[in-house]
Symmetry: C2
Subunit: 341 residues, 2 copies
């Protein structure tokens, strides 16, 4: 039970303004106040790591997406990993490792039904984000269930050095595909071919995409794992094969746009090529998570699936760090370390 004399001081980022276009840094305000006492069925969680993801930017908009827009005046929404400090819920005891939308704050207090207990696995805590959490699950279900890969096919991955893209490409290799990654800059291209084993990399910032893709995909493109949208999607569509699958994981190039931008001029090729373009959200696969986590961990332990995390120290740096996702300056899954485990 709680010890009132020790009431925890909470610090949190509040969404105070809707962003217009690129984040300006004035959308969030820091606020400190004591964490509330916990009621029956509630749990208090100390946040260890906060995940920064492109979807954070979508949630800041006024329009509902697959989740409602974050109301102004509320804590900024974010997925996080934490440790239970105090529990009045039968499913949790102090010391449990939990995951959920704990938000951009030091302490989360709420109903135990809103969070999930995690097993302690033989991997660092940051690996829960970089490999086993929604990042790895998104790569896995997107490629396997939406992409329906067949050995020998050609897979193209955009944002290929990114958290999801780098895993999607490696899973493609494990499943016997020819894997071509599109990434920005020579370092990222070297990383995906030399360290991750992609068959080819295209540096879209330094070479014209269409001829490079044509060269790298002599048999055309069977599956495209799309994280970017815009010109990249348009160009890839121009090279799809019959019955191609375009896995729409995200369109980060579009999220900062204040106004909608046109879609790909090549969309009509979906008809001629009898191709499929499909969006998905990893939470739809919740009942298969445990099985997929086991597969991902097994591949990792066998040395076939590598991941990188880019850890920013301190919750106070979260707003600035979020901007790095859109500038593409993060190296691997971007996390904020909020407190020591």
């Amino acid at each position: 039970m709680g010890d009132d004399s020790m009431a925890q001081q909470n610090g949190k980022w509040i969404l105070t303004a809707r962003p217009q276009g690129t984040l300006k840094g004035n959308e969030l305000e820091w606020k400190e106040e004591p964490a509330p006492d916990i009621a029956q069925n509630q749990v208090r969680v100390r946040v260890l790591y906060l995940s920064l993801d492109p979807t954070n930017r979508i949630w800041m908009n006024a329009m509902d997406s697959y989740l409602p827009a974050i109301p102004l005046g509320e804590v900024m929404r974010g997925g996080a990993l934490g440790v239970v400090e105090e529990s009045r819920h039968s499913g949790f005891v102090a010391g449990d490792l939990v995951q959920g939308l704990l938000g951009w704050q030091r302490y989360w207090t709420g109903d135990g039904g809103a969070i999930n207990k995690l097993p302690r696995l033989p991997i660092p805590l940051t690996g829960y984000f970089g490999l086993l959490g929604h990042i790895g699950l998104t790569a896995y279900f997107g490629l396997v269930d939406v992409g329906k890969p067949q050995a020998g096919e050609t897979l193209v991955v955009s944002a290929a050095a990114g958290a999801v893209g780098s895993l999607a490409g490696q899973i493609g290799k494990i499943l016997g595909l020819r894997v071509v990654g599109i990434a920005g800059g020579p370092d990222k291209c070297r990383y995906i071919t030399q360290e991750l084993g992609f068959d080819a990399a295209i540096d879209y910032k330094n070479e014209p995409l269409y001829p490079a893709l044509r060269r790298a995909c002599p048999n055309g493109i069977d599956i495209h794992f799309e994280n970017v949208g815009g010109t990249i999607l348009e160009t890839v569509l121009a090279l799809i094969n019959l019955k191609a699958r375009v896995v729409l994981c995200g369109m980060i190039s579009q999220y900062n746009n204040a106004a909608p931008t046109p879609g790909p001029a090549t969309l009509g090729l979906l008809v001629a090529k009898r191709a499929r373009m499909e969006g998905f959200i990893v939470t739809d696969y919740r009942e298969h998570f445990a099985e997929a986590v086991g597969i991902l961990l097994g591949w990792h332990q066998a040395g076939k699936l590598k991941y990188r995390v880019d850890v920013v120290e301190g919750l106070e740096n979260a707003p600035t760090a979020l901007g790095r996702l859109f500038a593409g300056t993060n190296n691997g899954k971007l996390l904020v370390k909020v407190s020591d485990s």
Copy 2:
């Protein structure tokens, strides 16, 4: 066997120039010459009805689509129904009704393997096009196999008074869907609601599409059967439900464009809504054609599935008639009557 003294005079339209944008009428030239004698395994067919379809326009372009571009100097490609006049192929005898890419000509001569024998069914010959041929099969497989309808869902059909759209909408009603048609002009809208039983019609030429669609689809859109593309597709996407299916049957609004035009700015909603957009070509379902023809004919005989044909007399009028498809001035499946049956 052929009677050389009676050599048939063939008349045909030759593709002599690639169209740029809207058809100008100077792309095809009329040519007359005797039909060739038939060799072993060949058949000579007298064309009865020629089908005019949006895809004819695509085939005239220099770029290959799901079929190669028509070479300049060759007979204009077209699907047609004809009667065998002379056969040196074991699969055909004079009098057989056949279907195939017979082209824009009075007589087709070629290998019997390139055409299909049709059964004589209790329906006028024009019904083979308007209901039972690729038009009806496209509506059937597009809606049933790609759209995967569930009773109670909402279906939107564009070009809803057109040959394919009008059947897709009626099949939707038979399968228990709420069906909303988008068509141009009050006559077409009246036709689909009053004669075909659609639940609602939107006259996109006379009312703003977005609010009209919102009103007609109070529960959102689960399936969109797309024949048009462009602004219509963009607007429909803005209203799709979770797990919606966009059946890409065609994009007639785009076929006359000399240069590629941008795709829908709302494409990103496919991600948020976990929706699927998929192209298809009816010929992929060849092995199931006979079964589907039986189903379509049964629905028609039960009074649940109506069709209209718009028959232009005389092969000489085919080029002008093709332009009517893009102007939207045809009423039902557009055919050219080439000779008497």
